[in-house]
């Protein structure tokens, strides 16, 4: 588990709460382990000539 408060402090940010980051650590991290390299992100740049 990452120490989000320490990460925040090192980034110059004082935070009282680490929710939702801590909850996401548990829910999100395991999902990433099963990702095949060929799965590309859903963000995409559509160049204008392609989009037209």
């Amino acid at each position: 588990m990452r120490d989000w408060k320490a990460i925040a402090k090192a980034s110059g940010i004082e935070i009282d709460s680490v929710e939702p980051l801590e909850a996401l650590e548990a829910a999100f991290r395991p999902l990433v382990k099963d990702l095949a390299p060929g799965v590309e992100p859903a963000t995409e740049l559509r160049l204008e000539e392609d989009a037209e």
Binding site: W4, I13, S17, P20, L21, A27, F28, L31, A42, T43
Partner: protein
């Protein structure tokens, strides 16, 4: 009165747009001090627009069903010459020089604009307890939240201050206030309605859509605002159609998906019973209710939260040095979003593609999915936790649990009221469909509405 009834009355000269505007203004004057639904009321401008609408109709220029109809927009849509705050101190003096695309289209359709609706600060939350402009109150019970972030939109429509309102939905922010306030709320497919001129919360999750009194009213608004806009890089060229369901439309032989997993876990018993009743009604109307297993919605929710944290903090980054301008709940989220590594954001977008493909397969089995919009009715203002299924749950997580995943998928979803709980507060169901199938889910919603699924008008609407 619905939009259609008002539109018919206008054309039959039983009422004028000026009279409709005067009635809306009277309701706003009477109720806004209690509900705090509006941040800015543009009553004088509305009167002038109504006069013009009457003059046009008299001259034979008819702009369609919204012509002369009082509406309002969430205060994140830019409005030329009218302050646009996004519910934030950051924008408290911001007077845009342009209209958002949605506002342009509503004006072109002849709608009469009554102003800017209160919301959760920066649309980043679901209570609409705005620290800068005051909390929005639920018209069904002012001690309860209207939901959010489009809380002012839900409250204004439920209290019949306006016939329809525009909201935005990044993790449920149209459907939640629709459910809590007992009105209809539509989140269209991502790309269906232009985001141009809407202050963003999270670019890849933000959807713009209407809240209205009935399904057909919501469809009339969608007809006016849908369509390609080159100024929004994610706007789609997928053709817009006529979204208004026919009179007598039917769900006969449509495959209505009943989710066997996730959506019925940890519900308030009153909500569960009411939503199960909708399936019985759908079956009696000829729908084929089909149990289905849905892909991993909890994973979709986690993906959505990572994307939202990162994108929202990226949007707010230039303003974060002025920390006193933010409410504590929003600042905490914005700070945490800055800590996420870029790899998490990229991997969330990769998971989004994977989960989206998995979800697509569902549509070979069913035509739509029906599920509760929220597991609870509107919590009290300031309530932090709820007890569901023998466990305490954060109100914010409980409220978004059943809606957030659909934003990750970009699919259309329509929330309609389906009953009142024993505490007198509304319950909503959401009808989720394949991409670009707004007409289908609106037809299903209208058929259910015609078939008796719904609730009485909000008592607050009866005060005048």
């Amino acid at each position: 009165m619905t939009i259609r009834e008002a539109a018919d009355a206008l054309r039959a000269r039983r009422v004028s747009a000026v009279e409709l505007a005067a009635a809306a203004n009277a309701r706003i004057s009477r109720l806004n001090s209690k509900l705090n639904a509006f941040i800015t009321v543009t009553a004088e401008q509305a009167r002038e627009e109504a006069r013009q609408a009457d003059a046009e109709l008299a001259a034979g220029r008819d702009r369609g069903p919204l012509h002369g109809i009082p509406v309002a927009v969430k205060d994140l849509f830019l409005t030329r010459g009218v302050r646009t705050t996004c519910g934030s101190k950051v924008y408290e003096d911001f007077v845009p020089a342009i209209d958002a695309a949605v506002v342009e289209r509503l004006r072109a359709a002849g709608a009469v604009m009554f102003g800017k609706l209160n919301m959760h600060e920066l649309a980043y939350g679901i209570t609409s307890a705005n620290p800068h402009f005051g909390p929005v109150r639920n018209p069904w019970n002012a001690e309860h939240s209207p939901g959010g972030s489009s809380g002012g939109s839900g409250a204004a429509v439920a209290a019949q201050m306006v016939y329809a309102a525009m909201g935005s939905d990044t993790g449920g922010s149209i459907r939640i206030p629709a459910a809590f306030c007992g009105v209809v709320g539509l989140k269209p497919t991502y790309g269906r309605v232009s985001r141009y001129g809407a202050l963003p919360l999270a670019y890849s999750l933000d959807h713009m859509g209407p809240l209205a009194r009935t399904v057909r009213d919501a469809a009339m608004v969608l007809n006016a605002i849908a369509g390609y806009d080159r100024r929004d890089p994610t706007s789609s060229r997928h053709p817009a159609v006529d979204y208004i369901p026919d009179d007598g439309c039917s769900i006969r032989r449509l495959r209505i998906g009943f989710p066997e997993n996730f959506y019925f876990d940890h519900l308030d018993p009153g909500v569960e019973s009411s939503v199960r009743g909708v399936f019985a009604r759908a079956q009696s109307l000829g729908g084929l209710v089909k149990p289905v297993r849905v892909p991993d919605v909890a994973a979709l929710n986690a993906v959505g939260r990572v994307i939202q944290l990162a994108e929202a903090s990226a949007v707010a980054e230039p303003h974060l040095e002025c920390r006193e301008k933010f409410g504590p709940d929003v600042l905490a989220l914005l700070d945490q979003g800055r800590l996420l590594p870029a790899t998490d954001y990229i991997n969330a977008q990769r998971l989004r593609r994977k989960l989206s493909r998995e979800f697509d397969q569902l549509w070979s089995e069913v035509d739509c999915l029906i599920a509760p919009t929220t597991p609870i009715t509107a919590p009290r203002v300031g309530e932090k936790t709820v007890r569901l299924g023998g466990r305490d749950e954060d109100v914010r997580l409980a409220t978004t649990r059943l809606v957030r995943g659909i934003n990750v998928l970009g699919l259309p979803a329509l929330s309609i009221p389906c009953g009142l709980a024993s505490n007198g507060l509304p319950i909503g169901i959401q009808i989720i469909g394949p991409a670009w199938e707004e007409a289908l889910i609106l037809k299903i919603g209208a058929a259910l509405e015609d078939g008796g699924v719904g609730i009485p008008a909000c008592p607050a609407a009866e005060v005048l």
